[in-house]
């Protein structure tokens, strides 16, 4: 089933060329729905064990010790689910823009690469998918992006490539530590990494951490992010923030923490501090933004900082909270960027001060946007609450001061979200917004399910939490064992 998930988007993206450009979005949408159904089947069949369930594990490039190993456990499954849920929404949300079939082809290729990243059980394969994911999103931003996109997307590309090359060097180094004729197999890399002395684990830690930190992005590796998010087309931004930044977080869970547990133990505090700085920094800058999209871009830095800090606390509620928050953030940030996309296509501006009074002319839109916004504020009974509660709790257990500082995210988040809501939705209508049309049928079709997901996840998150629980417990017990033995 997982192999179908991996190959179907690629096949579908090639199929697209057989259809007329006008039908492209329908074909892509149907293809992504099939993908969603397949992933749901996988979720229901999943037995919630801790072990990785391999779908395939065969030698691919024998002379380099590379295996085509695809498998999943609860952690992978949650992220695969996030990908397959979001992509249909993203495709459905794009119909106003009349993109060409190449666009949908790239989106589906991106989906393939993302699922590959989340299920690769071989270091080299992981690196390959990690890089392949960059290519479609780069072209989506380059071809359909806004002003000055050449320069900004190039910066994005070089920045992230620099990080991943560091990761590649670290992986090759680990590879040469594996016994015998060397292998990139995940267990072999785990054992090689754990056997390294502390100092070398530190180097590996930084090589991998910087790669992941750039992708998330964690302060101070975030400078590509606001520009890229604002210049990318709306659907590109949704892919970037909704799914792609989770690649970095997933990388930390799967390819950093279990590989060099002693290194993580040694440097985890630094990572948590950087993440917490990112929370405060992102929130403060978000408060003064005039452009709605940039505001959400900076708020994304704050949110991802909290998730990353939670993972590096290395306690169970932290990692579980991080996973649930990844899903929730993906859904919420999609809702926010779609809301901005709707505003922008109608009134041709994203500047907050030019907006106002949308609530009077578009009550349905305003109501839906309120729910998404409250989710972002982590109001109880929304999906954001579960994750943020667990995360702040875990940081507080790790270090009370950091927990208190990180907790400010809720207050600061309320400041920038409510301020922007007030400026855009409340107040008097002006000449730009008075002709604002309320949601169309297709937009409702996208946003209503999103609202339902936000509320259901907030009230009853348990099924999702239980999927990853045993995998997370297993992960943390390994970390404790090896960071203790390294001392």
């Amino acid at each position: 089933m997982i192999l179908f998930l991996l190959s179907w988007p690629l096949l579908a993206s090639l199929l697209l060329f057989a259809f007329k450009p006008k039908q492209a979005w329908v074909v892509a949408f149907v293809a992504s729905l099939i993908e969603l159904v397949a992933s749901l089947v996988l979720v229901f069949q999943f037995d919630k064990s801790a072990a990785v369930e391999y779908a395939i594990n065969v030698p691919w490039i024998a002379s380099l010790g590379v295996n085509f190993a695809i498998g999943f456990d609860g952690i992978s499954l949650l992220l695969v689910l996030l990908t397959t849920v979001l992509v249909p929404f993203i495709i459905l949300s794009s119909t106003k823009h009349s993109y060409s079939s190449a666009f949908y082809g790239l989106v589906l290729m991106m989906q393939m690469a993302l699922i590959g990243v989340f299920t690769a059980m071989d270091g080299f394969l992981f690196y390959l998918f990690w890089e392949i994911a960059l290519i479609p999103i780069y072209f989506i931003c380059l071809i359909w992006g806004g002003e000055d996109r050449g320069r900004i997307t190039l910066k994005f590309f070089i920045y992230t490539l620099a990080g991943s090359l560091l990761m590649l060097v670290a992986l090759i180094y680990l590879y040469f530590q594996t016994p015998g004729s060397h292998s990139f197999e995940i267990q072999a890399l785990y054992e090689a990494g754990r056997a390294l002395p502390l100092a070398e684990q530190g180097f590996i830690f930084w090589g991998l951490f910087i790669a992941f930190a750039i992708k998330m992005p964690v302060f101070p590796f975030h400078t590509w992010q606001p520009d890229t998010y604002s210049v990318a087309p709306s659907q590109g931004t949704m892919l970037l923030s909704g799914i792609m930044l989770k690649m970095g977080l997933y990388g930390v869970i799967r390819w950093l923490v279990p590989v060099v547990p002693a290194g993580v133990h040694e440097w985890g505090m630094t990572a948590v501090v950087l993440s917490v700085i990112g929370i405060i920094y992102g929130s403060c800058i978000a408060i003064v933004q005039k452009d709605f999209k940039r505001l959400i871009a900076y708020s994304s830095i704050a949110h991802v900082g909290l998730i990353s800090a939670g993972i590096f606390t290395l306690n169970k509620i932290g990692v579980q909270g991080a996973l649930i928050q990844m899903l929730s953030h993906g859904i919420l940030v999609f809702g926010l960027f779609y809301g901005i996309d709707i505003i922008e296509t109608r009134v041709k501006t994203r500047t907050l001060s030019a907006l106002g009074g949308i609530r009077h002319v578009a009550p349905v839109f305003s109501a839906v946007f309120t729910v998404v916004m409250l989710g972002t504020l982590a109001l109880p009974f929304t999906s954001g609450f579960v994750g943020e509660f667990l995360l702040i709790n875990s940081i507080f257990q790790y270090n009370a001061i950091l927990g208190a500082v990180g907790g400010l995210t809720i207050i600061l988040g309320a400041v920038y979200m409510l301020r922007s809501f007030q400026q855009a939705m409340l107040g008097e209508t002006n000449s730009t917004t008075e002709s604002f049309v309320d949601l169309s049928g297709r937009e409702k079709l996208v946003l209503f399910p999103i609202v339902v997901i936000i509320i259901v996840m907030g009230i009853y998150p348990d099924p999702l939490l239980s999927i990853s629980e045993s995998a997370v417990t297993n992960l943390l017990s390994i970390v404790q064992e090896f960071s203790a033995s390294a001392k």
Partner: protein, 457 residues
């Protein structure tokens, strides 16, 4: 060996074509002969023949590179048929190209320094003429003259070096030289090392490593685009294989006498070529500098694993040549329609001819080393070899210069996807060839094992 005979025969036949008046048949003949050469290579595989008192040795290394040279020339000829057909000097030009190829085959199979010299000269003299084959163009004349002057100077170095090495060891035969060097390691005269260094300089000129690269960009830019494509693929492959045969096998035991020089040259090549490429406004010059930069990565592999690098060298040159031919084919199509090779000529190519733009994109991504394309595995193998042998600083430098590489390669890429929709629409190209090249780039990337394994000892 049979392949070499076929190629030489083809050269003479194409000279005769003018006199005997069968020019129309030439294209078919060329394609048949090159294909036959490839088939002969396959048939000779695993039969290590040494001929003419060990003047040439056709071991698997030589056979592999002979096959690669013939295949690349075949693709190249397909792409540049317009350069030959319906041209008054068709048979002369073709003969020159074929003789250059013969020189290249000698360079990859020599076992005697006299043959090395002969091979280099056969190759170079043909190229001097080809570089100036666009007689009406001032730039083409300049290229030919510059190449000739600098080339003959480098040949002088090479000859002087060969003479000194002969004086010290009493032989031209590289197996005998390396045996002599191994048995008399302590009693070698000083001028032997001077000789090795002179040969080194002569060869680095031919592979255009910094600081002996100054001719390359001007010659590449001035020559007609088909000739540039030939120089940066076939010629470069032959020269690097010759360099490898000379230094990774024959002089491997005296590596100490040129080790530091090699290190300096690698650092300079990586940094200078990549940084200078950033400031170029012409795609042809960008490709020229990129071909210099790629030499830096290959030298890194040769330095770190010596004779074990043959598989890496082969894979790297195969992937580089395929991607380069694809890039040059698109460049040629754009040049024919717009008359310019500047980056501007590519503006909005995606909207004018999406097929060409996508092919160019894949070629550029491969040259830049983006997975899962062939170029990535080439770079990966180089870095892995270097890391394995403890050259971490060089790997970090290589990674940094690859990032600079992205910057200039992507200049072309970004230009292609600009919104400008107006402009000439390139239409002179072979779709089949381009599809085959793209398939080769993908196949080399997805199944690298077979090609790397070919030359494993």
């Amino acid at each position: 060996m049979n392949a070499l005979l076929v190629i030489c025969g083809l050269g003479f036949v194409s000279l005769l074509a003018e006199i005997a008046n069968f020019k129309k048949l030439l294209t078919v003949l060329v394609i048949l002969a090159l294909a036959a050469a490839v088939v002969l290579v396959v048939l000779d595989w695993n039969t290590s023949q040494s001929l003419y008192h060990d003047m040439v040795v056709f071991d698997n290394f030589a056979l592999g590179f002979t096959g690669l040279l013939c295949l690349v020339t075949l693709g190249w000829y397909w792409m540049t048929r317009d350069f030959f057909e319906n041209h008054p000097h068709q048979s002369d030009r073709l003969a020159l190209v074929v003789f250059a190829l013969a020189g290249g085959i000698i360079m990859v199979s020599f076992n005697n320094m006299a043959m090395l010299f002969l091979g280099i000269e056969i190759l170079s003299i043909s190229l001097y003429v080809l570089a100036g084959s666009n007689k009406a163009s001032l730039l083409s004349n300049e290229a030919a003259f510059k190449y000739f002057l600098m080339g003959s100077f480098a040949t002088g170095f090479l000859l002087m070096g060969i003479a000194l090495v002969y004086g010290a060891t009493g032989s031209f035969d590289i197996t005998k030289i390396s045996a002599h060097v191994a048995s008399h390691a302590d009693s070698l005269p000083r001028f032997f090392h001077a000789g090795v260094l002179l040969i080194f300089v002569g060869m680095t000129f031919k592979i255009s490593a910094v600081p002996f690269h100054f001719w390359a960009p001007d010659v590449y830019e001035g020559s007609p685009t088909p000739v540039t494509a030939f120089m940066s693929t076939v010629v470069k492959t032959a020269a690097l294989a010759a360099f490898f045969r000379m230094f990774a096998s024959c002089f491997a035991s005296v590596e100490a006498s040129y080790h530091i020089v090699l290190q300096v040259i690698i650092v300079l090549t990586l940094v200078v070529a990549n940084v200078t490429a950033v400031y170029q406004g012409s795609v042809k010059r960008i490709l020229a500098y990129s071909s210099v930069a790629h030499v830096g990565y290959i030298l890194l592999a040769i330095m770190s694993s010596g004779s074990a690098a043959s598989g890496v060298l082969f894979y790297y040159m195969a992937s580089y040549s395929v991607a380069s031919i694809a890039a040059f084919a698109v460049l040629q199509a754009v040049e024919l329609s717009s008359g310019s090779t500047g980056v501007d000529a590519f503006n909005g190519l995606y909207h004018r001819n999406p097929f060409l733009a996508v092919v160019m994109t894949i070629a550029i991504l491969s040259l830049a080393g983006i997975p899962p394309l062939a170029g990535f595995f080439g770079k990966y193998l180089v870095f892995a070899q270097a890391l394995q042998h403890g050259y971490l600083p060089f790997v970090i430098l290589g990674v940094l210069t690859s990032l600079i590489g992205i910057y200039y390669y992507f200049k072309v890429l970004i230009a292609m996807y600009r919104a400008e929709k107006e402009g000439p629409r390139p239409d002179k190209y072979s779709t089949v060839l381009l599809v085959l090249l793209v398939a080769a780039i993908l196949a080399l990337g997805i199944f690298p094992d077979h090609v790397i394994g070919l030359l494993r000892l």
